[in-house]
Structures are given as structure tokens and as C-alpha cells.
Symmetry: D2
Subunit: 340 residues, 4 copies
């Protein structure tokens, strides 16, 4: 079978404006198990949006954008429903930036001969295919961006801003999260930035430079910057999709603020959608109640939802979108504060 | 805290007529992971409903009705969207029949002192509460029904018919699955019938009878009857919520038909919503592809959906309900055939 | 590929006498997460064995014997480490009785063309293969046993006794759990007996009999008998591998005893090995703490272990075997009491 | 209850030399499901150790060292069973380095009032407790180390070397992985280094420095260095405990080598112990077969094991330790190459 055949059915991004999950969520609230938890999480998210003192941090982990959830995040940024993103590199670079360069993700199947895919240079994410050649172009674009920067350490947030600028200048990626975040001065942090297509581009940059000065990515700077966001927010709320580094990183800033001698509250609100299990003691599935022992998350307005994200996130965000509490919010444009 | 306080917030059953999940499912189809799987399952269910030769068997396991999913099944029966139910006893007796007698399930929390609940005679199902005293009334009603029957072996289906008759005669349980199934001659099989509130009532009946003749429940008769349904259907489709005995039992009838020398097809369609994992080799999480090796489920029109049922089932059934393919279907009234 | 090729590598049953997990369990006790839970479960099991008033009920669900865990259960029976078994039908009939008739399970792989397996009449359980033709012989042997019994209702326990007798008379199945249980008067309950190879045999029996009197399997009688075991035991302990009907059935007898007006304690000890999740509200993953609210399991000596059984069970049983607390125990031979 | 009471039962690290899992693993090989998978993984690990051309990369994610698995990793380093570590920061800094400073982890329980823990400054990891005050000392020690370094970008590997040097100079942390890795020139990479106690210390360092030159952590340099390890190894094998960033990072170096124009093989061997599920499309649970489509992992010598790590890892490593294939291996001392 030809490569073209495998890469024929494009993934389309879900548009939560096109349906209103409100009647579903309202009914879910009266039930039990995870539908009730999802409804409760939706109500907490709406409370975050109604709390004028609250900055909202969206944490993203898992192959979310390749699976069609990119536009949901785009719409949240456009409508001032979130103020900060903390993400894995794959979502921001391999998936968002890749699509912003004009490439796509495709429907596939896990019941496939992976050796054949490899020979055709097709990469598989569960039931989704990517053209490895396009991914290489994405890598090299990152390298090119780095080549044109001053050779100093950057936070991932700063570098991602340059990626947004790159897209805007070339007038590409109109549906890109990286680009709209750039345009709306919304910071995107990727604490493990090298662990992505960006890493490939950046090592290529550093490797070419040999002993000359190089661009580097300083994750400490990321942590310091996100802590500044925390310190400059009266209250904060976490909306976490998946676990991993983004969850931990964002939770940690309450403690970080304390270490810098700043008086910061725990995260007042926190919701998480995940299928991770708490019983292996890992961070991804650890309860938000546990996070309270660490002084990270306050009690009372937190909710875990045990659901795969592609089903739960559209219902969650459609609900808060149609509630409209975000209409009174302005973009907090934290990039302006951080770039001073 | 008083018992009344714990038992104050009733679980309300989801009404899938009150929202239309079609635009959600249509978008899910273009994505990846479990939202796409859910969409594919919904389309297969719709194909079952459009296939005039297909009898549809609904398999139920897990605490579904206590969690607010009863009305979904009621609506499926009323609108001829299913032809047979195979269920755990808890759903049919402890949950449906209990509510038909006028009792309720209540919202609770797993973060609770279970010893206090025990002392108050409150039973907990994850985040749901039941009044143990009401459950005992349910048990004793079963006993009373048995007392009034001829002392011979019954299939669970036959006994559940008498439960439906009991409700109808007393004009109670208008929203009961047991009652509407009785009225529409739809068979309900509970292969492990004693493993429920029915078991408590029936052992009480048998224990009182001592050496006299007793009502007994013959699960072999259940299996034979369900096989007859299979043999009398050109094609069959399985809609499985959870795994357990109902899944296995319903899958097995294709082999059973063969053993009786009848020429029966594999189940032509099969969908399952479950969070069970295949990696422990258990039946609940075993793939429908695996079921094909056994000659139980045909290839091509089967789909597993990895989701907790309270979230996925409402979306699934709302979609097929609003598609309306069921409008051309008639009730197959298999009880008439089985009671001959 | 030929059928013979697929069915070439026999599954061998684990012999927990051949290694001593004591030093592992002792170290596990000092750690965290599931290794500590496993150690705690092992200690509770040992306490059950040391408590002379305690009858021990082993609950089995999942494809355990096909996976090589049969001999572990055999050794527990032989050494008076358990007093009752409650199981799924597949384990007792399709797996134990099948092997007792001289057949085998074989190593396979889930990465296989299931259509080819079907054509070759090979059944797959995850990574294990069975010869469907041999399974049919197992079915027909059950039918033959039924044909030779008086046509009255039997508990599954009674029928399984006849299966043991069948094996003994033919001097086959020396490693069979069904046979040694028969020889040691240990009751085996299969509450959903028809949901197995036994079901195939028994419907064949009933179908042939047409309107004549038939053997039937009365699961109410099972429940009543198991309740009698409870009533005749000062204390009880549950050792549960997997969840499903066996877990629920065995837990329920404390309530059943109460309904019969007998004063029975909650299960004093309870351990469970499972990968099921509690978050879907299903019984299989429900915590033993939750079971306390129902008055089924006492607090303080209960432990869930989140592990796939083929890894955890050998470690658990090797520990208690080598501890030797069972040496002071006698077989309780409950079949004698129940057959009176 | 006093803090001292909560922090009274120390976690003890498992010593895999003190028991020999060989007879268990040999029996597991003949069975099915996860015990067989574990045996197969153990055999593949042993093949890695026997392959003189193979560099072995150990990937660590999840709260492994706080749970008692530190000594297992220590023993692997001491006996030249691994050549590189890629880890989360929590394991290396919050857990290993914390203990190296003289502090401990303690047995706790998830059934606890987390608000009380918070007030006592006790942090909870599922069923384990940590003294937050000790963690703060750990943070500040990192800060102190940074204060004494030249203010340039470092790879995490370089910084962790300084942590090892710090321990050695103060003659503390004799059982520390950080220290023995330093002494044996074994590189430890933490691609998301700031996402840990190190992050707290390093932002404190950077914040104090204000506009002066600062130490920074360049994760690109990490990626470049790990790629150099790959390029300087004929073959590589991955031993992955948990998923997350370490799994992805280590898998990626085969592609990274290609981008740098170096001819590097796929990872020839790969095993992973995880409870993550593949069905959410996340990287942690993605199969090694899927990794083959990306050209990262070769076919044939890869194995996933579905088990919580505290149970499976001791069995795995005890087996390879007692097989002794590592005796012919020398330390590869990659730090020497990387520091040139």
C-alpha cells in the first residue's frame, strides 16, 4: 500500500461552539460516578471563569492536538478562557506548530504492520498517522528560528513566542495555538522543551555551532517565570488534561512562590481529566486531595475526572463556553509582564 | 449525622431525549482515540437498528441503574431499540426493582466513614448511597413472589416476568425496566440471578420451605432460552455495557446454537463500553477481535470503547435515538416465542 | 501454518513449593505502594490460617488456570489452606476439568490473525490458545454426566462433586482441582454455572430431554449452601483473585445469614488481588472499605492489591505455604455437612 | 497526632541480592499474561547484558526511590548493569539526593486527613510521607551548589555530577545513586530538571542573582549529550520503569542521531514496566511496537510488562543479577567521553 493511501483521512479538530453540552452536563450533575465528576469539574471551571481574581492555567499532556482537540484550546485562548498554558513539547511543537506549517494528522489504526509504516516513514500515535518527512521539516524550522536568535539562554516561553512570531510574519497557521497565544500575549510553557520536535531542531542548531555561542533553553527560567505569574495573580485555578510534567510543574509554583518569600495562596481551583491510576504512586494519577498535603491545591474546589480526554474535554469546554462567564474576562497578557 | 441527611440528594435518571448528541458524535468521528471509537460504536449500533434481520441484545454489568442510567434502557425498550437484555442481578433487582417499589438511590461520596454508614444501615456504591432497610423490603418482595409460584425450576427470565407482573398488578414502577419489559414481552436474562437481592429473597423462600418443594432458578434454562432467541434471529448484534457474565453469556450463544445442531451466524455486530483492561487476560476486557477466534463475533462491525459508562452511554444512545432508525423496527416480543 | 504448530508450547502450572517468596515478602513489607500492599495481604492470609476459628473462602475470577495458576489452588486444597472455593465456570470447567480430561492450554500471542485461528478451531485467551475440539469434548462430558443423574435441581456444588467423582472413577485428572476438592470434601461453588463449558453440556442435555424431566442447576441452592457454610463457621476470611460474581457472592453471605435469622459475623479477613478500577463504580474494583458499609467485611484486616494475578498470586501463596501456619489446620470438609 | 508520630516508620530499600528470583522467573516463562511477559522482559534484559556491543539506558519515572527501589538502581550501577540513567527530577533530587543528605521517607496511608498533614508540613506520596522541612533543605542545597558554579548553561547531567561531587566531598550519601554515578562516571540525565526540588533551588539561585549572570540548565545540551552516547554505542537497550519524559527522551535519540547525520541503529532491545494504558494515546502507555513505526525501537526484542513497578522491578533485577551476565561488563564511563 502506498504512503498516500495511509495518509488520506485527515483528523478534523472538534469545534465546541457547534454543539452545546449544557443539557448533558446539567443532567450528569444529578447522577453518579464519572458523569457526575465531569459535571462537577465543569461547574468548578465555570467558577474559575467567574472569579475575577483568578488566573487560569491550562495543563496539557498526552497526544491531544493530533487527536483533534487543538481548536478547543484555540477557542479558549481567543475567548479569554485561560491565561497560561503549560504543556508537553509534542503538543506544542510536533502537533500545533507542525500543523501551522501546513501539515496534517491522519486517521489510522493500531492493527497495522508497524514495520511497513517505518519503511514508508509514517509515524504512528495509537490510531493516528504522521508523515515523518513533514516532522523533519518542523524540526528544521525550529533550527532555523534558533539560528536567527541571539545566542543566550531562553525560557521555553520565550522561544515559543519566537515560533508564534515566525508564523505571523509568514502569515501561516491561522488556527495555531502557538500563533494566537503570541498574538494575545498568552504565555506557553513547555518545561521539557527538548523532549519534542523542538529538541531535534535545537540540537541540530547547537551541533552546527560547535564551540561558538549557542541558543539554549533554560527550564529554570520557565519555572521562575511561571512563579511570577502566580505571584502576580490573586488566585489561580488549574485545568489539567493528563498528568506528567505539566501537572507537577504548575502545581509546584505555590511552593516556589513561598521559597521566594512571596505570600501566595494555594491553587484555589483544580480539575483534572485523566485515566491514570493513583495506585502506582505516580504523579499523573495522584489525587488533588494528595496535592493538598503539599500545600499546592486548596480543598473544596477540586475534582478528578476519570475519562479519556477526547471524550470528556469537548463536553467540559462546550459547557463553560456556552455558559458565557468568560465574557466578562479580559486577556491577562502575562507575556507583557514577563517580558519587562 | 442522621441517616436522613445522608439520604437526601436523589439520583435522577438521564433522559437522552432531552439532548441530541448527534453533532458531538459526528465530530467525534473525525478525530482519534476513544471519541472516534465511541462514534464508530454509535454508527455500528445504528447499523444494527437499520438491519431488519438483526435482533439486538443489550448486556448490562456494573452499577448502572443506581448511577442514573435506568431511563436510557427504559427508553430503548419503549422504542424497540433492543430485543433482549442480559444483565447482572444487581441492576435488575437491587436497582430497578427496588426503585419500582418506590425506593431511591442517593448521591454520596467515597470520602466517608464506612463504619458510620454501616451503623446507620446505609450501603455505599462508590459515591452513591442506598437504604439497607429498603433493600431488605426488596429482598422480601422477591421471597413473596416466589411463595406464590408453583414450586418448579424457572429460568431467571421467567421469574423476572413474574416480577414485572407483580409491578403491573400493583400499578407501581411506571419507570421500571422490569415492568416495561414485561409489558412489551421483552426477555430479561440474569444468568447469575442469585447473586443479587433476588438471591436473598429466594434463599429465604427455600429456607422456609425446608423439605417441601421449592421454587428454583435454573440458569441452564436461561442459556437454552437465549440460544433459542439466537436461533430464531437471522442476525444478532450485541450492545455491551461493562463485561462480566452478561458479556460472556451473550457471546456464547453462537457456539451453543452450533452445539444444538442449529446453523447460526456469529454475532454480526458487537460494541462494548468498558474500562476493563485486556492485559490481565480476563473476559471483561478481552477484545472483540479475540471473540472472533472463538467464532462468537464477526469481524468488521465490532468496536470497543474505553470509557466509563455514565459518560459514554448517554452520548451513544442519544445519537441512535435521534437518528431514528428504530422507527421502522417492531418489538420482537421474544417472550411470546419462549413461553410457548 | 498448521493447527499443530499453534498448539505446541504447553502452559506449565506454577509450583509455589519450588521457590520461597518469604524473603521477598518480608522486604516488600518495608516499602510502599503495591509491594507493601501485597506483603500486607500475605500477612493477613497467614493470620487467617493461624486463626483456628476461621474458614477460608477462595474466590476465583479471570482466566487463571489457563494461565498456569491451577497447581497453586491444588496445593492450597491439598494442604488445607482453604475451605471453600467460589469461582467462575470457565476456571472450573473449561480449564480445570478440560485439563483433567487430558487436554492442555498453549502459549500464543495476541498479535495474531484471529480469523485464521477461527478457521483452525483455535480459541484465544489473550496470549493463550485452546483447541476448540477439545473444549467440545469437555462440553459433551458434562452432558454425559447430567444424563446419568436423577432429573432434579442441583446446586453447582453438587454437580461439581459429580464431576470430581467422574474423574476419580476413571482415574484421570490427578492434578485437577475438581478432583482433589471431591476427594477432600471441599465445596466448589460456581454461581453462574451455565456461563461456561458446563452450560453447553447442560443445554445439550436439556434440549435432548425435550419435555421429559431434566437436570437443572439451582443457583439459589448454591447461595443457601454457602450461607450454611458461613453460619457453621465462627469466623470467615476471603481470599479473592479478581472480582466479578465470586467476589460479590461470597461477600453477600454475611447478609444472607442475617436474613435467615442467624447471627453471623462480618468476614473478619479479606484480601483481593485485582487490576479493576474503583472509579467506574463496578463491584470488581470496589474497595473492601466500601464492603464494610454493607456489613460484609470487617475493618482492619482487609487489603486490596493492585496487580495482575499471575505475578502476585504465586508470591502470595508461596509465602503462606512456607510460613507453615496451615500445618495445624484440618480440612473442614464442608461437603459432609452440606450433603446431610 | 504529632508530626513525629507520622514520620516514624522508615521506608527500607529492597536488596535484590538477598533473594534470588531465578526460580520464579523460570516458572513464569512457562505461563501466560503478565508473569510470562515479565519473564520475557527479564530474558531480554539478560540478553542486553550479554551483548558486549550494547549500552544500556535505564529510564525511571514514578515515585520509585521513595517507595524503596533506590538500592536496586544503586546495585545496577555498582555492578555495571546499566550505562546511562534518564530520570524524572523527583527521583534523582527529591528522593535520592534528599536521602543522601541524611533524610528519609516514611510509611503512611492514603486514608488520611491531608489538611492535617499540610498543617504539620508533611507531604504525601500515595502511602508515603516526607518532611517538607527536609525537602526545603534539599532545595537550598541545590541553590548553594549553583551559587558556587560558573554562571553558564549546564546540562542536567553536568549539574547532577556536581551534586555527586558535593556528596563525595562531604562524605555523605553512601547509598546514593547520584553519588555512585558520579564516582563511576555514569551519566544521569533529567530532561525536565526544573520540575523537581532542583527547580526550587535553582529559581532561588536565579532570583537572588537578579540581573547578574546565572547558572542555567540547558535541556538541549542534555539531548545532544544523550545522542552522543547513542552515536558512541554500537547497540543500545532500554530498560524503562514507567513512561513519561524519560521514555520519550531516550527513545528519541535514534532519530536525533539520524538528524545529525550519524548512522545509528534503532534501540535493539527495549523493555518497559508500566501500568499506563495505551488506549488514551499517551506516550507512557504506547506500545514498543508503535515505537517501531517511528524507527526508535527494533522489532523482536521488546516487551511491555503491565505491572506496578514495586512488585515487578525487584523480580526483574534479582533475576539478571543472579544470572551474572553483567560480570563480563565494564563500566562504560560515558561521563569521560561527554566531558571532553
Amino acid at each position: 500500500m502506498k504512503k498516500k493511501h495511509y495518509l488520506s483521512k485527515e483528523i478534523k479538530h472538534i469545534d465546541i461552539k457547534k454543539f452545546d453540552s449544557t443539557p448533558i452536563i446539567e443532567q450528569f450533575e444529578k447522577t453518579a460516578f464519572q458523569s457526575r465528576n465531569l459535571a462537577r469539574a465543569a461547574k468548578i471551571f465555570d467558577r474559575m471563569l467567574s472569579d475575577e481574581n483568578c488566573s487560569i492555567i491550562l495543563c496539557l499532556a498526552g497526544s491531544l492536538f493530533s487527536a483533534g482537540l487543538k481548536k478547543i484550546v484555540y477557542d479558549m485562548i481567543e475567548n479569554n478562557m485561560i491565561d497560561v498554558i503549560v504543556s508537553t513539547g509534542a503538543i506544542i511543537v510536533d502537533q500545533d506548530f507542525l500543523e501551522a506549517l501546513g501539515f496534517k494528522h491522519f486517521q489510522g489504526t493500531p492493527q497495522i504492520d508497524d514495520n511497513e509504516l517505518m519503511k514508508l516513514m509514517i509515524d504512528r500515535i495509537y490510531d493516528t498517522y504522521i508523515d515523518e518527512k513533514q516532522l523533519r521539516i518542523c524540526d528544521m524550522t525550529i533550527s532555523e528560528i534558533a539560528d536567527n536568535l541571539e545566542a543566550v539562554p531562553y525560557s521555553s516561553r520565550e522561544f515559543i513566542k519566537f515560533m508564534g512570531k515566525y508564523l505571523k510574519e509568514r502569515n501561516t497557521g491561522k488556527n495555531s495555538v502557538v500563533r494566537i497565544a503570541y498574538e494575545k500575549n498568552l504565555p506557553i510553557f513547555v518545561p521539557a522543551f527538548s523532549d519534542s520536535s523542538a529538541g531535534f531542531g535545537l540540537i541540530y542548531h547547537q551541533w552546527k555551532r560547535k564551540n561558538e555561542a549557542k541558543v539554549s533553553i533554560d527550564s529554570v527560567k520557565d519555572f521562575l517565570e511561571l512563579t511570577k505569574v502566580k505571584v502576580n495573580s490573586r488566585e489561580t485555578g488549574l485545568v489539567m488534561i493528563g498528568g506528567g510534567v505539566p501537572k507537577n510543574f504548575a502545581q509546584d509554583v505555590t511552593v516556589a512562590a513561598d521559597i521566594l518569600g512571596e505570600n501566595a495562596h494555594m491553587h484555589k481551583y483544580a480539575i483534572q481529566i485523566t485515566v491514570a491510576d493513583e495506585r502506582d504512586g505516580g504523579l499523573s494519577g495522584s489525587t488533588l486531595k494528595e496535592a493538598h498535603s503539599w500545600g499546592k491545591v486548596d480543598e473544596g474546589s477540586e475534582q478528578m475526572v476519570f475519562s479519556e480526554a477526547t471524550i470528556a474535554l469537548p463536553l467540559l469546554v462546550s459547557y463553560v463556553y456556552h455558559r458565557g462567564s468568560w465574557k466578562k474576562r479580559n486577556g491577562k497578557e502575562f507575556n507583557k509582564m514577563l517580558d519587562k
